[in-house]
């Protein structure tokens, strides 16, 4: 097998019974003998078929080993192979909004419940097993289903708490953004950490007393006792009905969690931008024109706010990745019932983006390793990157040139009140923040195809195509 051979996915190593291989043609999963038998059985279950038909379980089929583009010795290491539908852009829970994590949690609970009713269970409960495709959560880790051992507890309960419930409760009850917690610890918000984060008064909030306080107490008291609790539970008559009761209560609890969000700086952008209606219209027409003419398939809208221009772009391309630093703005985009299904909204700070981390720094990968755009929209953002985040303008443009062939960027001049607000209490050391310098840097990497002047010259849009000779990578 040459360059065409499938690559081992660097994040799928935890379960010894399977491994993911990525290939341009598809996503393949090698399975051990027991995992293959479990798949063959569960794929006949009614719930499995129903959720697959709804699109809530990733479309999967068993394929003959010969059809998998892997070296023979790798193929022979597995008893069989599955092929999964490819998720356009893989995203992680620390990039999701509150409602995205909540939707993933509800899907996890619903699937566990449905599986239990037919004698199966899910061996874990991690949001990394859920992805967003077509605007909705999809469960991707088919190998997580296994036959239920009657009398056994729900193995994934603790993980569910740490990876779904505690982060959601922190956001809903304390107004703490959960993303930094999820991004700093692979296993989510640890039980004892949660117990410290929720104070005495929080114990009166739904779910805190039992799932946080009592669980942490029990864990500290009995965690190290060495009791063989699994067999004790079995002989005491533990059964799946008890898990179902817990699951139903959890579904109710999670379903009721609300994050109203405080006043966000950008959540109301559409009411607070400083364009006249006429200029706004001209901006929209220009953006639409560029996206259409550019024939981009995959567009990134960096600094998307509530996604006004993402929606425009979504009409003409396959996939829009809409990112913004503001959790509430992205949440509004996700919750908009009119949001086109080909927009994936993610919380992301361009100056402090998702890193590659975890085992060998490749278990979770940075965004450019997961998605490559043909066109980047960078509207009313540059002043925040250069002035607020202190990134030199030349570096920012250089980074964009390394990411995309086509760029649509808006310059916000120093005469614009938005820039003046940013500079009001700062020492103005931003000699590089000027139209001349921007144009000079753009021309280093790109050919400027078209421009549009707005607000009497206080703003200017540039549509750029990367010059062939500066092409980096592919």
């Amino acid at each position: 097998m040459g360059a065409d051979a499938a690559q081992l996915d660097t994040g799928s190593f935890r379960d010894r019974d399977g491994r993911i291989y990525l290939h341009a043609e598809g996503v393949f999963r090698g399975l051990s003998e027991s995992a293959l038998a479990a798949f063959r059985a569960v794929s006949q279950a009614r719930f499995y078929q129903a959720y697959t038909d709804q699109g809530a379980l990733v479309a999967t089929r068993e394929v003959p080993a010969e059809a998998v583009p892997l070296p023979t010795e790798t193929r022979e290491a597995w008893a069989g192979f599955l092929e999964h539908r490819r998720i356009p852009v893989v995203s992680y829970p620390y990039e999701w909004t509150f409602s995205m994590l909540k939707a993933a949690a509800l899907l996890q609970l619903e699937l566990t419940e449905a599986a239990l009713r037919e004698g199966y269970t899910l061996k874990d409960a991690t949001p990394y097993n859920v992805q967003f495709d077509g605007g909705r959560p999809v469960f991707i880790d088919i190998a997580s289903f296994e036959p239920l051992e009657e009398g056994a507890p729900w193995t994934g309960y603790r993980q569910f708490c740490e990876m779904f419930l505690f982060p959601l409760m922190l956001q809903a009850y304390k107004g703490l953004d959960f993303q930094p917690f999820m991004r700093s610890r692979m296993d989510g918000v640890g039980l004892q950490t949660a117990a410290r984060l929720f104070g005495f008064r929080d114990r009166f909030r739904k779910g805190v007393l039992s799932h946080v306080w009592l669980q942490s107490k029990l864990d500290r008291r009995y965690g190290g006792t060495g009791d063989n609790l699994r067999s004790e539970l079995k002989s005491a008559g533990f059964n799946r009905e008890l898990i179902l009761v817990n699951l139903r209560k959890l579904r109710k609890l999670v379903g009721r969690l609300r994050w109203t969000g405080e006043e966000s700086e950008w959540g109301d952008y559409t009411q607070f931008h400083n364009y006249s209606n006429q200029d706004h219209q001209r901006k929209e027409t220009f953006v639409e024109h560029c996206v259409r003419q550019g024939q981009a398939r995959r567009v990134w809208d960096i600094g998307c706010n509530t996604g006004q221009f993402s929606r425009l772009a979504a009409r003409y391309c396959e996939q829009v990745l809409a990112t913004d630093i503001d959790h509430l703005a992205v949440e509004r985009l996700y919750l908009d019932p009119q949001r086109p299904a080909n927009i994936l909204p993610l919380v992301q700070n361009v100056a402090d983006p998702s890193p590659s981390w975890g085992w060998r720094l490749q278990e979770r990968r940075d965004l450019p390793q997961r998605a490559q755009p043909d066109m980047v929209l960078c509207l009313a953002l540059i002043h925040h990157v250069v002035i607020t985040a202190n990134v030199p303008l030349a570096e920012f443009i250089g980074w964009l040139a390394g990411v995309t062939d086509q760029l649509l960027i808006e310059y916000v001049s120093r005469d614009d009140d938005k820039v003046q607000t940013l500079l009001r209490n700062k020492q103005d050391t931003y000699w590089d923040y000027s139209r001349e310098h921007l144009e000079q840097q753009l021309q280093r990497h790109f050919r400027i195809r078209d421009t549009l002047e707005l607000r009497d010259g206080r703003r200017r849009l540039y549509w750029c195509q990367r010059a062939v000779e500066t092409r980096v990578g592919g």
């Binding site: 029990l218 067999s231 533990f238 008890l242």
Partner: protein, 67 residues
């Protein structure tokens, strides 16, 4: 009812500063979260722990080491 008993028991239980087994406490909680349906299981499972807590009897060794 079993919930109340257990809240009382663990409220006074000293913390075990031992190696942390990630699941034991969480597995116990699942019995409590099973609600009314779990009272019987809870009594069987926690009886000796409650007795031990109240100072009567001795915790038996777990005989079944399977599973």
């Amino acid at each position: 009812m079993n919930f109340v008993v257990f809240v009382i028991v663990v409220s006074f239980a000293p913390d075990a500063l031992a190696y942390l087994d990630p699941g034991t406490g969480s597995m116990m909680l699942q019995v409590i979260l099973g609600g009314i349906a779990a009272i019987g299981v809870a009594l069987k499972l926690f009886w000796y722990r409650i007795i031990a807590f109240l100072g009567f009897g001795k915790k038996p060794d777990s005989e079944d080491k399977s599973g």
